[in-house]
């Protein structure tokens, strides 16, 4: 168990800089999710913490000690890979005990730790099997087990659930979170799935193009995204962003007044989450619905704004229209649910 500090981490491959300086102080026992689209540098960042990639600039400290120059094995970390990276020629027991054996631990102690971890992960009956004889979820657990037995200070997860089917993913998500809480080990978890990020993270790092767009708790990021990117990446369906302006202390969408703001007059990008649009017969917005997707608990209405033509999605509770029906619906939005961004920089204004 340890704190992890990243200080202005940069990564260059040749002349191409892929990470432009990421900093975060991670508390002992905290579960940090690094989330972002493909190619945003999230895996590279994790691999730098693991010691599998060199650090071009900046400093990584684990347990307050600089680890930049240390080999992966000397960083007191364990990593779970996307494809599990189990040793195919070894049994589950050998897979889990490999690191301990190399560390020169006594056989009875290895056996005790492996048995204990296997029990925790419900793998006791599979210890003598080879990885190819296991299901995807079981392999995932073996990879977890291999990380646990070493009792590291930090767990690193590199998209560990992306090879599992949807149902198993939800189950393993919960298991990983519970396990991490029980063991109290600091964890860094990389994913491209914003649902995983929302549900698992104590704090998340939203990454885009090699930059940490926002670092905060899931609800902070959801409620006050600091950039358009963070706003649209977190939350499902993603936030509607349309061009609007501030005139005389009011957020205006053409001639429609949506609510007060203390910003000076200027053009803005207005963000409204689909779930913050409410059906209201006197509402200021009219949506020409082109497609409706009833999901049972709520209904997604896709369409364009009357008189403006911008695409917009609304998520309304309950069942609203028969599937594929078209029509008009009037909507309103609370002033505090309006997110205002600078159209040029994408930074939050309000």
């Amino acid at each position: 168990m340890a704190t992890v500090e990243l200080e202005n981490i940069k990564k260059r491959f040749g002349k191409t800089e892929v990470l432009h300086g990421v900093s975060i102080d991670i508390q002992d026992g905290e579960f940090i999710v690094i989330v972002g689209p493909s190619g945003c540098g999230k895996s590279t960042l994790l691999r730098m913490v693991a010691g599998l990639e060199s650090i071009s600039e900046g400093e990584i400290r684990i347990g307050e000690a600089r680890v930049n120059e240390r080999e992966p094995m000397d960083r007191d970390i364990a990593m779970v890979f996307q494809n599990y990276a189990l040793y195919p020629h070894m049994s589950v027991r050998q897979n889990m005990g490999y690191g301990l054996k190399i560390a020169g631990m006594a056989k009875p102690e290895i056996k005790r730790r492996v048995d204990e971890a296997a029990k925790l992960l419900q793998l006791s009956d599979y210890l003598e099997r080879k990885p190819r004889e296991l299901s995807g979820g079981q392999r995932q657990r073996v990879a977890m087990g291999r990380a646990i037995v070493r009792e590291p200070s930090v767990f690193l997860f590199d998209e560990p659930l992306s090879n599992l089917d949807a149902k198993l993913r939800v189950q393993m998500r919960v298991e990983i979170r519970e396990l991490q809480r029980k063991l109290g080990v600091t964890a860094l978890y990389v994913t491209h799935d914003q649902v995983e990020a929302m549900t698992m993270a104590d704090r998340m790092i939203v990454m885009n193009g090699g930059v940490a767009e926002q670092i905060g708790t899931p609800l902070e990021v959801y409620e006050r995204p600091v950039t358009i990117f963070a706003a649209q990446f977190i939350g499902s369906p993603s936030m509607n962003v349309i061009d609007a302006e501030v005139r005389a202390g009011q957020v205006m969408l053409g001639h429609v007044t949506l609510g007060p703001t203390d910003l000076p007059d200027r053009p803005v990008s207005l963000g409204i989450r689909p779930e913050h649009l409410h059906p209201d017969d006197n509402g200021p917005l009219t949506l020409n619905v082109t497609l409706s997707e009833p999901l049972g608990a709520n209904t997604l209405l896709h369409g364009t704004l009357e008189g403006r033509g911008e695409a917009m999605t609304a998520a309304l509770p309950g069942v609203h229209m028969e599937k594929q029906a078209v029509g008009q619906v009037r909507l309103s939005v609370n002033a505090e649910d309006l997110h205002l961004f600078d159209p040029k920089t994408g930074q939050r204004l309000n």
Partner: protein, 293 residues
């Protein structure tokens, strides 16, 4: 669903199979049958008549100390050739696998020796080690080592082994290199995080994962050492000195075409036929099962 093609008549399938069947028939089944037939006879010195002796040729063969010695020579020779061609190949492949820049050039250069025909390779090595004019022999002499593979049986064996194995290193390198590239990178990284340093990783993770390749190459190289090294031995030592490098295949030639004992030569061919059959069965059985995990 049946994916195989089904033919209506007989003509087309027979026509398609014909080239393979004719080649096998003319160059394998006919001579092999002839060898089996001849192994049961002793021809007179002029080749005018043949006397049926049953298994007499075989009986004589296995009581012949020279033939039994040739078995040992073959075993030593093929073991050495296999080791000398596989271990450096693996080592070079590991190095090439770690290379980032210039890997292409390095690979190409390593593959070249494979293109050299065995007899040419034999002559090449013969010149280098020729006791009178050889470059290497000259420098060895300068260093105080008196190289003479014409007289020294160990040196002769060493020379034919190196000459035979040399070209094979390229072949084995190719297979090992491909196999190394197929080892998942994340498995290696996982082992690194688990604390295994390079050589530990190599012996506990990489080598076991290469085992199917290793086994395949083992069989292929043994077969090579048994049957395809004739040219090298013929050009360098002609089986000498004192039959120290007379492997089974060379003895077939020496007894049959030099010694003119066609009956014995045929019997030896039959023995070799059995050996190669056994090796092939072994190969198919294990390679298909993929020995490893």
């Amino acid at each position: 669903m049946e994916k195989r093609v089904t033919f209506k008549g007989w003509l087309l399938p027979m026509l398609l199979l014909a080239p393979q069947l004719i080649v096998s028939g003319v160059f394998f089944f006919y001579p092999a049958g002839e060898a089996v037939w001849q192994s049961l006879f002793i021809p007179d010195p002029f080749g005018l008549s043949m006397q049926y002796v049953g298994l007499g040729n075989f009986e004589y063969l296995f009581n012949d100390p020279y033939y039994r010695a040739s078995f040992v020579t073959t075993a030593v020779f093929s073991t050495l050739v296999t080791l000398v061609s596989m271990i450096p190949a693996l080592f070079l492949a590991v190095l090439a696998d770690r290379l980032v820049k210039g890997a292409g050039t390095y690979r190409t250069l390593l593959i070249w020796p494979y293109a050299v025909a065995p007899a040419v390779a034999g002559v090449l090595w013969l010149f280098m080690f020729n006791t009178r004019i050889g470059v290497v022999a000259f420098y060895l002499n300068q260093m105080g080592y008196d190289w003479n593979h014409v007289l020294n049986e160990h040196e002769a064996m060493g020379l034919v082994v190196v000459a035979s194995a040399w070209g094979r290193i390229s072949y084995n390198f190719l297979f090992y290199f491909a196999a190394l590239q197929a080892v998942p990178k994340s498995v290696i990284e996982a082992a690194a995080i688990d604390g295994a340093r390079f050589w530990r990783r190599f012996f506990t993770i990489v080598l076991p994962l290469l085992s199917p390749t290793t086994f395949f190459l083992l069989v292929v190289n043994i077969v090579y050492a048994f049957f395809e090294t004739f040219g090298v031995i013929h050009t360098i030592t002609s089986g000498g000195p004192q039959q120290a490098t007379t492997i089974l295949v060379y003895k077939v030639y020496a007894d049959g075409f030099v010694g003119q004992d066609l009956g014995s030569s045929a019997a030896q061919s039959v023995v070799l036929l059995v050996v190669v059959g056994f090796l092939t069965v072994l190969q198919f059985k294990f390679v298909e099962k993929r020995v490893h995990y």
